[in-house]
Symmetry: D2
Subunit: 463 residues, 4 copies
């Protein structure tokens, strides 16, 4: 937030008896702790502002001061500030109770009370934060403030209601109707590209060279942007144009793999989707982004008929670790258990499947992989059909894509043999397929009946 | 809303037993009345959609269908449709009452009930309309729908609560932080310029020639636009760069008046400000637009030191008409009343001031104007200090500019001698001055104490 | 050319003994005649500048002075100035002769002399004018200067060689590789649109309403622009999207004719092509513009398969007037002559065909048109095959389109019944067809063998 | 040059008896040598095209074929091709001689012959190459072809005349009036930034981190672009905003040096200027770029009053090496020579100044530097006043800046202590100052009188 010191200095006059450290904070001194009376002073100042019937311009000035101060607070100071807002500037529960009673009165003017209830349900802290959206960089400020709040609320559940309110506010501002999708390529500003490198969450970008390859001829990258946060991608997806559905992330990312001319490709593989703003956690853009990209690619490259992902199975290894022996025996059946036991005996391994998967280099040992593959594929089938309390699958990636109307198309043995891939997903990757004609139907089946739609090949793994 | 018929035809299948006329409406037949069972069918369909747990894409499709249908309804059909939404798709008051009771229970989980209250206070009709913001042209659709609703609610107060909800929704979407200000000039698209001609509300634009003059060297025009309504100005202001504060709108608009080179001008005169979207009534942008224009001009032309308006006094003549004789005598005092009586006698006019102002060409008759000018200026002073119940002045233009921090600087006798100017404002125009340093202070004085800030010259008129 | 007076005043110092009127001209006084010694002073100043070894910046300053002065000259002054340049600042013929002799010497260093010849062939007046291309608006200045020169050289053939040099210079700068084609539509700046209205040469635009219709849904307008003359169209073409080849300009321009949805149209009709800069006369863009538009429309609307014009026959009526009786009899043959004679007798008309075409309203009289149509169509066939000395057809529109590779596809009886159409073309219009596959072949046939390519229907008219 | 194979295949038909390898070249096979009859076939084809009266479109197609073929030639093939053009497609000297005689005839039509001479002086090879400017990427193609030609003409002087013609053609196309200056910063496309890294010729860019620093807050980078070569910088200059004139390139490039806020800086230091296109050698943009940057910075940051360079002295060390002992003694005088001798004796160094400068780390040894500094500064003064045959200084950087109107302001001892700086410039750097008011005067003094303008401080070094 570019703030002129002179303007701040004059604004500072609206504070009563400003302490030295707070004035410092307003003027650019950093690491203010909000200790020693600063907190009390700030509290009084916030109350004064909220009570005032001042106009839009003073509201804007106050927001600018708070923003400037907040940026200069230490971690402890920020936590103090947010906790104060959470505890002391929430909903006026006495007033709300009073209006609830008024609503229940026999002669209540329902329409009027409803409007009053609506107003009361917007707590003062939110009124304060709302003023940021007219400031340059004000929306980015709030997104970053929420990133702090999320971190603090892990330790302090009292902050969660406050977080929920900000999430709701941001969800309104970041409504998908307001977002613009842009392609990111080698013509994009370096300032945007370095954010890609920073935020890529699925398969790390190692160098500008690696990045360049991901933006090359047969690659696409698309991101959502908000008009008031130019140059800041919210979420981005990386796509490879291929012939046939890709089965290995290592092959896909290998810079020496020859390019497919885009107009000859028949498949688009979504191989990475990353959120770029921690402060927008819980606000969902991914499904819209995928759909918009599918529409864009279909219009641009009509030869592309197949849209699928190449996705990790982030919870699989953990689930496998937690599986007790009875359950595993039940899933695998006698014959498969015997084969596993024979292999363990032959290799003098104790501890069964889990120990085998600990052996360095197991995935390069044909003796092991020949036996393990059908077993783990079978278990993977069951993993995909394991549910949380709310009836949704436990795998977050599966939840996301099924919720968008995709189906589980294929599992790829040794599709990711990086350390992370072996540790998380036992080396598996999965293709979720987005079948143009059935997306909506699949989505409804999942949304209403929690139906796990799978291809016949995947269904066969369960037998 | 550009909708492909094929896609609509397939969507039509989601309706049960679609009547012929409704299908016609979906496919482009116009002037559907929603009679003969159509209304009942639509009601059932809306309920079905609201109950469904369908995803974002079906929501979007439903919105598209409703939008397409609505565009093809006759006036009667639209009124039926909006009335149905207002009466049958409002807040679930039973549920709301139940939750109010829950909130009052001794062991209530307040945070949880607050969230439920918040949800209940968003009525189904609003959930339906919210889905429009992801459609291309969807926001413009809602703005136009509200224009219809405002018209209908004049006759039917039941629609007003509904209107309030849409206004609130639009106020969120049209938050000033989301708007872009653009200068409009002769390089602007013809499609935008013709809207200027259409929407200019204060001083009609007579021809492209007249328009061109208003966008000329020493003129500026600025408008707010919303990113999702490109090419649709929301509000625009016309500015003349002058030397000294202009005192006559006829001189200002005269194409033969020589241009002032912008870098030589010392004053910016805001001589017309017009809202371009009836459906955004009650959502205020004017104050922000004026402030943004002031900032822009100050940065571009540092020699401009004075920012003022040349404004009509739209309620003055009506107020004068309604003034009873005692009140007028009290305002004017004996001496002025005598002078008026003498003039009336000399001209053999009965009926006093009001009759004099009816005489054709009175404003060109020195005998009359010499006497009338000080009288009417005195009355004008009192008009500016006449208040509504809420303590604000009765003149809407005065309310607007004082509320923005301006002061009443000067009244201009015969500043507007058009028929409209004579009839509405007795030929007066007023300059409101925006004093850069005092805007904020004036605004606070007005907002908190309803202080009418006037220049010493205007103050003298009251004596 | 925005020139600061202060800078000019200081530049003025580089002149020796500046007369009052020339100084006035430099400072903005208009209508300078270059009389009374001014011409002599200017001559000396130009020579001084040309001799100087000054750098690019002084060259630029001198160009700016000349430009400013020229703009302020009266017509007489401009003619004096251009005539001086033409007579006194041309090629140094003595030096050129000397170098020609040097080239013929037995031991000549040919490469070196060639370079010297090249330099000598660029006369001083051209070196002067070349400096304009670095000035803002400098290129537009030269284009307008040439417009003056063309007008003067009609009366004064001495100016023609000079004109040829400037044309050559402009042809380099306006090389088609440097031009950008833009679509012009209702989103284009009003400043560009008003130029369309001004420059349309074929079918006058009557109002903004008419213009709007020509830029509507099923209409297209494309223009070439030069990067250094932004907002100044060089040439533009108007296109109608139709079903089948249009046969009447009145129908095409009628605003009440229903629109054809562009994606349903199968034909693009080029119905007007106009040069917008008189100063670029003789520099050809039209053929490139048509080809670029064809490529653009094919890419955007693949359903459009037919590209044709609806063109006037501007020289036909004049040719017919000049045809002597023997020639007409020879063209028409005995039978047709008899039919014509019978009609004249029946109507008691003397003077034959020409008199009939003078009768007001003849084109609405079936008795006449039934007889005349086959006769005139037959004559039109012969008109199309009448040649100039250089072997090209006498009709300029025919020359243009055949030279581009089109063929004569169809003649349209009563295709233009405006006064101008009846007077110029006997009410005929012609469709030239651009057959995608044969354009190049047709063009070569015409360029190398002057072959007039016609459709079989047009060939039949000749029988 | 993106060429569709199908189109080329059909174009191939215009060739007679295409050999297999040439067809291969047209279709994308690389490393064609033009051996074995290919050259002869190409020669015949070029002649056929030049003789044809074909239209613009075929010309364009032929250019496309040649372009495609050329790209696929090996180095040997390219040399054969260019040599053929140089030897066989030059000026028709017989015809030129004939016309020279015609010009000398007593009754010659001078104007007509001049036009014919002009035409003859454009050789066929140039007509061929001119056609490239309508192709996409055609201008970049010619620039790269000239890069090859420059390399070949080092070994083969026959190619030089041809190179001169292309340079002249490119100089017309790259006229400074056609170029656009753009700022390059961290918002620029990565595709442009990587070219900066590649082309920086003065102070190598070591990493994206280094690049980022050079585009930072207190740094500017500007480049010229041609509208037909988007994304290809032609020349760029790097500027540092500082307080006072910088005296050390190491300090300037050090990323840990704190930024100067641009609005507080009083000086702009041009510390690197690099040509990015070898094929534009000999076409000068640098002076225009510097002047345009000065204008831009003055408008944007009025507090910047001083514009200077921090430049190497690339020929100084070589000149010193070539200086014979008598000359050096003459320059330095007895006293300085004695001091040098004393130092050499003390350090037991033989070989005088040159040997001292060979000692590793000499520049960190106060004993040496204290003695050497005044000596070398004195010699540097004489170096700056050493001239070529044409009367210009031998130092290329000095020639460039003095030619632009700068003056030699200051020499900076140990201003560049990199290996390259010590080896080339004995560790010196020089500031050339661009004095806003005197640039034009200095330039004229240099252009007309070869005056070396120096500051009084530099003048003092010569004493």
């Amino acid at each position: 937030m570019p703030i002129l010191k002179d303007s701040l200095r004059s604004l500072g006059r609206s504070w009563t008896n400003l302490t030295e450290s707070l004035l410092g904070g307003l003027l650019g001194k950093t690491d203010i702790d909000l200790a020693n009376g600063d907190e009390e002073l700030l509290r009084r100042q916030l109350k004064k502002w909220l009570d005032a019937r001042g106009g839009e311009v003073s509201a804007r000035n106050h927001a600018m001061q708070i923003g400037s101060l907040y940026r200069n607070l230490s971690t402890a100071g920020r936590k103090r500030f947010l906790t104060m807002l959470a505890r002391e500037f929430g909903i006026d529960r006495a007033a709300l109770s009073w209006h609830c009673q008024a609503y229940l009165a026999p002669d209540a003017d329902h329409a009027a009370v409803e409007q009053q209830l609506r107003d009361l349900l917007v707590p003062p802290r939110l009124k304060l934060l709302r003023q940021f959206n007219t400031l340059p960089d004000g929306i980015k400020f709030l997104v970053d403030l929420r990133r702090d709040l999320i971190a603090f609320s892990r330790e302090d559940p009292e902050l969660r209601a406050f977080d929920g309110e900000i999430r709701h506010l941001l969800a309104t501002w970041f409504d998908v109707g307001m977002l613009h999708m842009h392609q990111i390529d080698w013509q994009s500003p370096a300032a945007v590209l370095e954010k890609l490198v920073e935020y890529e969450a699925v398969h790390e970008i190692h160098s500008w060279q690696d990045l360049r390859h991901r933006l090359h001829l047969d690659r696409r990258c698309y991101a959502f942007f908000h008009p008031n946060m130019p140059g800041e991608p919210l979420i981005f997806v990386e796509v490879a144009l291929t012939n046939g559905i890709a089965d290995s992330i290592q092959t896909l990312l290998d810079e020496s793999t020859p390019d497919v001319p885009p107009e000859k490709a028949d498949t688009a593989i979504f191989y990475s989707i990353s959120n770029a703003q921690q402060g927008l956690k819980g606000i969902s853009f991914g499904n819209f982004l995928i759909k918009r990209v599918v529409d864009t690619l279909r219009a641009e490259l009509p030869n592309i008929r197949t849209f699928a992902t190449l996705s990790p199975i982030p919870g699989f290894a953990r689930w496998l670790d937690g599986l007790n022996d009875e359950k595993m025996a039940e899933y695998l059946g006698e014959e498969k258990m015997n084969r596993l036991a024979a292999l363990c005996a032959a290799l003098e391994v104790k501890g069964g499947l889990r120990s085998l998967l600990q052996r360095p280099g197991w995935h390069r040992d044909r003796q092991i992989t020949d036996v393990l593959r059908p077993l783990i594929e079978h278990l993977l089938y069951h993993y995909f059909h394991t549910f949380r309390e709310d009836g949704q699958p436990i795998d977050p990636v599966e939840r996301f894509h099924l919720g968008n109307g995709a189906r589980i198309e294929r599992v790829n043995w040794l599709g990711d043999i990086s350390d992370k891939g072996l540790a998380q997903s036992c080396g598996f990757m999965v293709n979720y397929l987005y079948p143009i004609r059935d997306i909506e139907k699949n989505h409804e089946l999942y949304a209403t009946k929690r139906k796990i739609v799978v291809s016949s090949a995947v269904k066969a793994l369960g037998k």
